[in-house]
Amino acid sequence: MSTSAITPVPLGRRLKRFMADRPLVPLIILLVILVVILQILRPGIVNERWIANTIKFAIPLAILAGCQTMTMLTGGIDLSVGTVATMSAFIMATQIVSQDPAVAFLLAMMPAVLIGLVNGIGVGVFRVHPLIMTLGTSLIGTGCLQVYQRTVIASGAKIPDFLAWLGTGVTYGFPNALLLFVPLAALIVFTLARTGFGRLLYAVGDNERATRLSGVQYWQVITALYVTSSMLAGITGLLYIGLIKAPSLSLAEPLVLPSVAAAVIGGTSIFGGRGGYTGTIIGALILTVLTTLLTILQMPEGARRILFGLIVLFVTAAYLRIVEER
């Protein structure tokens, strides 16, 4: 029938189509809803200071989630980011006591580069599954850090002023960490969208065989990727120690799984080939707000974790249903 052609598309369908075309919209809506709930539960909590605080805590998570986004695009994952961040933070805090800041920085970044290189070669050349590879190097890194801790136990530790300023400082209402994060995020977004390397990450994750036939050398891409990921994690560690101000051997470890969750909520597929960093940033914000929300509900720790897990699962499932066609 020709009349069926002009039947208007139902509103629900149209809305779905709209959201499928702009996957960021439902995420932003969710973020706003969470903030509104928070405001209703604790009227007045949402103010300039709260926002600055939320952003401060979301940034380290967002950078680590950036590592996950990039590795997940190739069908991988980087579970060593927590250890790498912890190592660079711990080494920075202990070396700054006796070394020049620049030297301390280089020393702090060394394990990051090394672990990234080992991850990349393991995954790219020897084809170890990224989950196992990065878990393995993460354990090795933690062990090394424990050994290292004994050698520096007498020298003590301090937080460099600059990192404390960057991690916790606020200028004109804006957290100083944004000075680091905005260029970094812009660089990641640009890399993924507009550079040859970014294209290859998507393509390798989508169909490795096709990239091989097009002349792409898998190990090069993967090695560069894991080194980049690890270096980002190292930088996150430095920022995070400025924020937390208490070096410990498990400093950034609690961020690892949320960083994966933030990337997944942000729409990056763990099977590779699809996703992007802007979604991940919002995913990190959502998780941070969610954590605040669950904290002020004053539930026991166990219940809070259960709820956190359930919400992450629900949001991810719902989001995929909205964004994916069919």
Binding site: T195, F197, Y202, A203, N207, R209, A210, R212, L213
Partner: protein, 513 residues
């Protein structure tokens, strides 16, 4: 005949969407006979076999077993009805030992052992896991496993492929005796020599229909070839063809010279050359080593012997990038192998640009858009759904895989069955494009499973059979039936006598009666 058939299938049809894989196929097998099932690629042999063995169900048709109508809905049902297949791929589970594999299918062990010995394997340890057993032996074990349950009808798909001569001989002997014992064997093979030595009758399929049942008598090959081809109308060659005729005939230094190329056991001693400005067609039945030939030229696999020269320089490819640097691009037959399905048309076409380390930096978007756009226009890709390649039609996807190398300006394109499963209009466009490429001085190596395409597109024909190059000739020298004969290893007309497999006395055929 007075005996009633063991298996009688009539009017079998199967549609996949709008495509009819089988229209009206019939197959009748008498007790005590070895019956050949023949047909060109895509004629519907494998569909018919799958229906008979319960792997898929037919849309129409009637299957009688010993005169009773049976509805074979699953492989288990086929087994109960006495129909047992041995497929081309080994079916033992690699991680289990032979004994556990037997238990899995409830195969009696003693008869199995007896058959294994009968088939010429003296020293089989049933505790070996299937993974450690060589391919040829695995195929024989599959056969022994089938024989051990004494099926009424045994279905053998290319049973002797990948078998060394001594094993093949034993297998044929045993199959022959099956027939003598009053059971029936359906024998699918491309090898006329074997069929002549073994079979009583042959059913020939063409375009999903049974077009004839013939008794195997000396000289029946010609009749079978004619049946497989049918009376096809001589089609006009693509117009663009004559334009490049001159360029192709000019004596040119070969672009690529292949000498004594060998790849494992699949391909041996293949030598030919490819000139600028020509389209060379590779004619081969499925699995004759053409896959390995293309993969070796594309740098996907390393040849185990022989040399490849590009522009007179010997080259060694260890990764496709090496071939691409020499200007050789490979378009695989399976589109899902070449495309990043979730990415856009543009990204897929531009993929080779980013491959090299030095091109990992920022992309010059405007320049890229222009290059990609011109390739899209050249191939007339329908870009309405260009956001994700997986939303394009098969023909358009295939065009994207070719457009990639047009955009990259590759000098030599290896096209492996590029027209498989795409519509007629797109096929025509691809023929024209390949001719144009040759007209512009590029060289194309073109394998196709459809013989008529060879005459439309190619300048020269390279025939491969059983992993060996059996013939090279200019396309004008052969019509379609000559090509078909060549593909089946039969001599091409009276003047050609080089095809080694055409000689039934040749040891490599392994089937001397």
């Amino acid at each position: 005949m007075t005996t009633s058939p063991l298996l009688d299938a009539t009017g079998v049809a199967k549609n996949y969407g709008a495509v009819a894989a089988l229209r009206n196929a019939s197959l009748s097998v008498l007790p005590g006979e070895v019956h050949a099932l023949m047909g060109a690629n895509g004629a519907g042999k494998s569909t018919l076999v799958k229906i008979l063995t319960g792997a898929i169900s037919a849309n129409a048709g009637r299957i009688l077993i010993r005169g009773e109508a049976r509805d074979i809905r699953s492989p288990a049902a086929a087994r109960r009805a006495g129909l047992l297949p041995v497929y081309q791929e080994p079916s033992l589970i690699p991680d289990l030992d032979v004994l556990s594999n037997l238990r899995l299918t409830g195969t009696p062990v003693e008869p199995f052992r007896a058959w294994v010995r009968e088939l010429g394997i003296a020293d089989l340890d049933l505790r070996d896991s299937a993974r450690d057993i060589p391919l040829a032996v695995l195929r024989v074990l599959d056969l022994a496993r089938a024989l051990a349950v004494e099926p009424d009808v045994l279905l053998l798909d290319e049973m002797t492929a990948a078998l060394p001569a001594n094993l093949a001989e034993k297998v044929l002997e045993v199959v022959r005796r099956q027939g003598d014992a009053g059971r029936a064997v359906i024998f699918i093979s491309h090898r006329f020599v074997e069929i002549a030595a073994l079979c009583d009758r042959a059913t020939v399929l063409r375009d999903g229909e049974t077009v004839g049942v013939v008794d195997i008598v000396p000289g029946v090959e010609e009749e079978i070839v004619e049946l497989m081809l049918g009376t096809r109308i001589e089609k006009a060659k693509v117009a663009a063809r004559s334009v490049s005729e001159k360029a192709a005939s000019a004596p040119a230094r070969p672009r690529i010279t292949v000498k004594n190329l060998r790849v494992g056991i699949k391909l041996s001693d293949v030598s030919f050359d490819l000139a600028d400005g020509e389209v060379a067609g590779v004619v081969a039945l499925e699995g004759q080593g053409q896959d390995e030939l293309f993969a070796a030229l594309a740098g996907s696999i390393r040849p185990s012997g022989g040399t490849i020269e590009v522009d007179g320089q010997a080259v060694k490819f260890s990764h496709p990038i090496d071939a691409i640097r020499s200007g050789i691009a490979y378009v695989p037959g399976d589109r899902s192998e070449a495309l990043a399905m979730q990415r856009s048309v543009r990204e897929n076409i531009a993929l080779p640009f980013s491959a090299a380390l030095r091109n990992w930096g920022p992309i010059h978007m405007r320049k890229e858009r222009a290059t990609v756009q011109s390739a899209i226009q050249r191939l007339q890709i329908d870009t309405r759904a260009q956001g994700e390649v997986q939303r394009l039609s098969g023909g358009n996807q295939q065009k994207v895989t070719i457009a990639r190398w047009i955009a990259a300006d590759a000098r030599t394109i290896l096209c492996f069955d590029p027209t498989r499963g795409i519509d007629v209009g797109t096929k025509q466009e691809i023929y024209k494009l390949l001719r144009e490429l040759a007209g512009h001085g590029k060289s194309v190596l073109f394998y196709t499973s459809e013989l008529e395409e060879v005459q439309r597109v190619c300048d020269r024909v390279i025939v491969i059979f059983g992993g060996r190059l059996v013939d090279i000739f200019r396309v004008e020298e052969a019509d379609e039936s000559a090509l078909m004969r060549a593909a089946y290893g039969l001599p091409r007309g009276a003047k050609a006598d080089i095809g080694i497999l055409a000689d039934p006395q040749s040891p490599s055929s392994g089937t001397t009666p």
